[in-house]
Amino acid sequence: DAGVTQSPTHLIKTRGQQVTLRCSPKSGHDTVSWYQQALGQGPQFIFQYYEEEERQRGNFPDRFSGHQFPNYSSELNVNALLLGDSALYLCASNPRTGVYTGELFFGEGSRLTVL
């Protein structure tokens, strides 16, 4: 049973460029959330997707956008990259139905460096 998978694992971009990160949720999960973890900080909620729509959004600018596909996989897009966007981007999935435990399942993350 594959867990949450993310790609790429590492990437380097320059200021002003755009980046797309990808996530496949754990089998049986239909809800995907994205988090940004800066160095020395905890994960910060970016947004959540369910039924191919953005359901909730944290305090991030419109440069951060996403998409969820019919197979529940998701993309995170960041436009006009800034140096401060350098971080580990974590994808998490959880099921909407069933017994609720509050547990999120995380991928290993995509490490983005902006130069």
Binding site: G40, Q41, F45, L90, N94
Partner: protein
């Protein structure tokens, strides 16, 4: 606005002793409280959770205590083992939105 705070960036404990990790929160509307463990180059993994209607939950060596009046959460690990060395994040959830603390790096000394 940091709704979940972990004020101790690091903690060192001897193997076999108790590790106590603390967390404070500000939002009384949180429904669930969770602890996650993170090793380098890996994503956080779920450790234990507690509903806001309970004050204690135990799973093996791990026990989470919730003090709602103080808005305080703690994780007890007994006995501590070297493999427990990792960064521990507490998290709080409401409306399927999660808020994480900044983490406490636990080192268990053999």
């Amino acid at each position: 606005d940091q709704q979940v705070k972990q004020n101790s960036p690091s903690l060192s404990v001897q193997e076999g002793r108790i590790s106590i990790l603390n967390c404070d929160y500000t939002n009384s509307m949180f429904d669930y409280f969770l602890w996650y463990k993170k090793y380098p180059a890996e994503g956080p993994t779920f450790l234990i959770s507690i509903s806001s209607i309970k004050d204690k939950n135990e799973d093996g060596r791990f026990t989470v205590f919730l003090n709602k009046s103080a808005k305080h959460l703690s994780l007890h690990i007994v006995p501590s083992q070297p493999g427990d060395s990792a960064v521990y994040f507490c998290a709080s959830e409401t409306g399927n939105q999660f808020y994480f603390g900044t983490g406490t790096s636990l080192t268990v000394i053999p």
